[in-house]
């Protein structure tokens, strides 16, 4: 039975994914949701890069660096979700497409992979080194492994939710154990519940903030954002020997 703050009341109707602490199914729903958010955001980041570069008429980056990756990532995820492996890993209940779809999608992946091998290191002069860097780009350097890492990184959302609900359940059980003390028990119960849950929310709001921030900066921005530039310095007189304090 899903619950809120570990108590089955009104909020249990909202908790549609089930309780991650009590049922393995609830935890797996949480897991799937976190991964799904990751897939959506990573592909969204790639699409931003694609359209940004198309708009700037920067066609080599758009068509040789970005579009093949969108094709590869979406195709690989579709193949994975259509396979029995995904079912045994409990990512999906049943394959979303017939297994035959991998035979079609592989003809999208191969040309995209060839484009990346041939053109991703196009600034290199010598062809041997260019192909070598292309293969590295396809696999290790910003390649398939790094996309996999980026997507799996979103599972941290599940872990953070798990920590929050775990500490919540722990606080409840401590509080209700202490509450069985006669007379003063009820006071201890209320104090422990209020301070415990406020503390839990505080520490985990911080955790949720820091980790989603990291997901934005590391996993999402790295797909399209190019830093650089320098901070704006307003026009003002710069004195060497006097310092005006307001």
């Amino acid at each position: 039975m899903p619950s809120y703050l570990g108590v089955d009341l009104f909020f249990s109707k909202i908790a549609i994914f089930g309780d991650p602490m009590k049922s393995a199914n609830g935890a797996m729903n949480f897991f799937r949701l976190a991964l799904l958010l990751g897939v959506v955001q990573v592909i969204f980041g790639l699409l931003i890069k694609l359209f940004d570069n198309l708009k700037r008429k920067n066609y080599p980056v758009a068509l040789l660096d970005t579009l093949p990756w969108i094709v590869i990532v979406t195709s690989l995820i579709t193949i994975l979700l259509s396979s029995e492996t995904a079912v045994s890993m409990q990512i999906v209940d049943s394959p979303i497409f017939p297994a035959g779809i991998s035979k079609i999608l592989v003809w999208l992946i191969i040309p995209a992979a060839i484009i990346i091998v041939l053109f991703s290191a196009r600034t290199q002069k010598s062809w041997g080194f260019r192909i070598f860097m292309g293969v590295l780009n396809l696999t290790i350097v910003n390649g398939i492994t790094s996309f996999m890492g980026d997507l799996l990184s979103y599972i941290r959302l599940m872990a953070l939710g798990l920590v929050t609900s775990g500490i919540g359940v722990a606080i409840n059980s401590i509080a209700f154990n202490l509450g069985s003390i006669p007379v003063i028990g009820i006071i201890i119960l209320i104090v422990v519940l209020i301070f415990g849950h406020v503390f839990n929310m505080g520490i985990n709001i911080l955790g949720g903030f820091v980790h989603t921030l990291r997901l934005q900066y590391v996993e999402f921005f790295s797909k399209f954002y190019e830093g650089g530039g320098r901070p704006f310095e307003e026009l003002k007189e710069n004195h060497n020997y006097i310092n005006l304090v307001d």
Partner: protein
């Protein structure tokens, strides 16, 4: 000692190691940025707010260990043989060790972040992100511990 009693003892050892080692890590990890922050606050007390963020960051590993230990404790009553006890002990190890080591190193990164805030107060978020990079592996350790604890067959 009976098989069940030994199993329960090992289960308790698993919970104790998970909470204990991760907690030690967090305690050491908070120590570094807290000492550095005290020095910065001595110069500029108004920076306390942004420094507090960096100081409490290495504290989360202790909670990861706590949650893993709590999950193991919830299963103690169902342990009936030695094998299950040892399985719970091993299931607690990922969060224990990743928590211990990552909290200490996150503390060092946070302490460097405190130095960053002292010089450039507006860049506090970048210091926080650098510290969060270290924490990733403690989160992964907790996840694996969680899945391992759930994977132990009881009864």
């Amino acid at each position: 000692m009976s098989d069940q009693a030994l199993g329960i003892a090992f289960t308790i050892l698993g919970a104790a190691i998970a909470a204990g080692l991760a907690g030690i890590g967090s305690a050491i990890g908070i120590g570094y940025p807290a000492r550095a922050a005290a020095g910065v606050i001595a110069e500029d007390p108004s920076k306390f707010g942004s420094l507090f963020l960096l100081v409490v960051l290495p504290g989360t590993q202790g909670f990861y260990g706590f949650v893993a230990a709590f999950l193991i404790i919830g299963k103690i009553s169902q342990v009936i043989n030695l094998t299950q006890g040892i399985q719970f002990l091993f299931a607690g190890l990922p969060v224990a060790f990743t928590g211990l080591i990552s909290a200490i190193h996150q503390g060092k990164v946070s302490a460097a972040g405190v130095g960053l805030v002292a010089k450039r107060p507006k860049e506090v978020i970048k210091g926080v992100i650098l510290a969060a990079m270290v924490e990733t592996y403690a989160v992964l350790g907790l996840l694996i511990s969680f899945f391992l604890i759930n994977a132990v067959k009881l009864g």
